[in-house]
Amino acid sequence: MRLVLERFTHNALALLAVTTLLFFMFRLMPGTPLAAFINENLNADQQQAMLEQFGLDKPMWQQYFIYLANLLQGEMGLSFFQRRSVMTILLEVLPNSVILTLTSLIIAYIFGVLAGAWLAWKRGSWIERVAVPAVLATRAAPEFWIGMVLLALLSFNAGWFPSGGASSPGLAYDSNWERIFSLDYLHHLALPVLTLALYLQGLPLLLMRSNMLEVMHEEFVTMARMKGLSEWRIVIGHAARNALLPVVTAFALGVGLSMGGNVVIETVFSWPGIGRLLVQAVSVHDYPLAQGAFLMIALVLALMNFVADLLYMVLDPRVSHGRKG
């Protein structure tokens, strides 16, 4: 329990540090934060009144605490360009990002774990000699480039998938849920998920393979072999179960990491998620929106780091005793 609290504080402090860094980074940007609101027709007095209205006449440290207090209440201000609450905009696109990330990760990890276990079993064969460098190459390829090639082949050339967006124009739905569970949405989701899954499968695959190779030499596997269990039962029932622990932790970390990495995939497929929102906000200098999107991604990252820490403790009891900090 003490350890759980320790990990929580650790991750929360890291998030606070990121938030602080972000506040000062945005403040040091060229131009006042009000640039988009201040009109050339306003005279000096009116501009001053506006600064006061937004609290920008207060000292920096005071502004910082107001900012933190607002954040805790989920208040991130108004988008300069959409003139709507940043929080509303973020919550609108968040489900799209979460669905994209989770679907891809689940597919990637199921495939990666099975293929990794199989490759460990095939150790020393020519399949391994070809497969391992090939998997490394998928990890080396820029995500957006995989997306571009798949788009050209499967969408523009073969015409099997739409080339972007999350739904066909002209379709209307009664609720967001109905939209998400529609065939049209799934059809749009397929290609981005395929791209992301192709990129993500390498890590669980290599991890599973090397864990399996290590576990296969441990005593309980030798024991199972001496009991005369079939090779298949040894692999699935004994070795794989133990080799899976680090993969589960990697999955939780993967959720946090790929939320940030989705920036490029979402742009390639014009997928209306949080990453694409960040890119658009930065390119039009919409500071509050960019800040909000960045913080949302950082929050998911910190949260998933914490979950990974917890999983690590729960799944591997050795950790909670032996590991310090």
Partner: protein, 304 residues
């Protein structure tokens, strides 16, 4: 197996730098993957060096046909090996010149990451205490920044230049190398030959840089090789998103150009496939080299 035993150089009198360097230079000959990686690096280095000779056409020049019309979207052929862009630029020339900016980005990021990571790791590991705590908390913070979003925000606001991208990549990558190097220093610090140096009255700085640092060198090298790949991928991604340096010819800029000018729907594979293959080759070469060094010098770190 015989090599595994002396994974960490034995305690011998004298300066360990030379033997370590000799072993580092010999490593690629022992590991076929690392050998392939070194070959790939050499090949790209040669292309970057002789770009002017390999591609006589200026990559940004707008070309015209003999009839005086814009040579746009010319399919690959004898005159233009990879065809031309929609604005009549030679794709092959862009690919060749892109090697220069890729290597510049990769190498400068790698040098910064390896230098900062090594120095921080050495200081934190050797001195411990407050120095260690402060440096490692800073590292934790940098590690909790979302990678690409941070680079985008930084380059989006500080200005789209290659040096800003390199800076952002360096800020994000030094902590992982510093952490691993720190833990290696922790074990080296307790070794007999370091103890011996201490007893003979060597100063802390002398022990750190003369006795410990040379043994850390292979690790710094591993992280430099990884950083090259990361920096190139990041530069490509950032350029692709439109925050890159628009004045320099890079593989990322080529991909963005192809994407925004509908090369995908026209099926101009010769435009956007080669830059991606080049990126993969350079990054994979880094993976192979770092794997090779890990296997030979740090057998216990394998699989991490």
């Amino acid at each position: 197996m015989a090599e595994r035993a002396d994974a960490v150089p034995p305690a011998r009198a004298g300066w360990p730098l030379l033997p370590v360097l000799r072993r580092m230079a010999a490593m690629p000959l022992k590991d076929p993957f690392a050998f392939a990686g070194v070959l790939i690096y050499l090949l790209f280095a040669l292309v970057a060096l002789f770009a002017d000779q390999l591609a006589p056409i200026d990559p940004m020049e707008i070309l015209f046909t003999k009839a005086g019309k814009l040579a746009a979207n010319v399919p690959p052929g004898a005159e233009f090996p990879l065809g031309t862009t929609n604005l009549g630029r030679d794709i092959y020339a862009q690919l060749v010149y892109g090697t220069r900016s890729a290597l510049a980005v990769g190498l400068s990021a790698a040098i910064i990451v390896a230098t900062v990571g090594t120095i921080v790791g050495l200081l934190a590991g050797y001195f411990g205490g407050t120095t260690d705590a402060v440096l490692m908390r800073i590292a934790d913070m940098a590690l909790s920044l979302p990678f690409l979003p941070f680079v985008i925000v930084l380059t989006g606001f500080l200005g789209a230049s290659t040096s800003n991208i390199v800076l952002a990549v360096a800020v994000l990558l030094w902590p992982s190398s510093a952490r691993v190097i720190r833990s290696q220093v922790l074990t080296l610090r307790e070794r007999a030959y370091v103890e011996a140096a201490r007893v003979t009255g060597a100063s802390a700085w002398r022990i750190l840089f003369v006795h410990i640092a040379p043994n850390i060198l292979p690790l710094s090298f591993v992280y430099a090789a990884i950083a090259i790949g990361w920096a190139i991928i990041t530069e490509a991604s950032v350029s692709f998103l439109g925050f890159g340096d628009s004045t320099s010819v890079s593989w990322g800029m080529m991909l963005q150009d192809a994407f925004t000018s509908q090369a995908l729907s026209r099926g101009q594979y010769a435009w956007f496939v080669p830059p991606g293959i080049c990126i993969i080759l350079v990054v994979v070469a880094g993976f192979f080299i770092s794997r090779g060094y890990e296997e030979v010098f740090m057998p216990r770190l394998r699989g991490r």
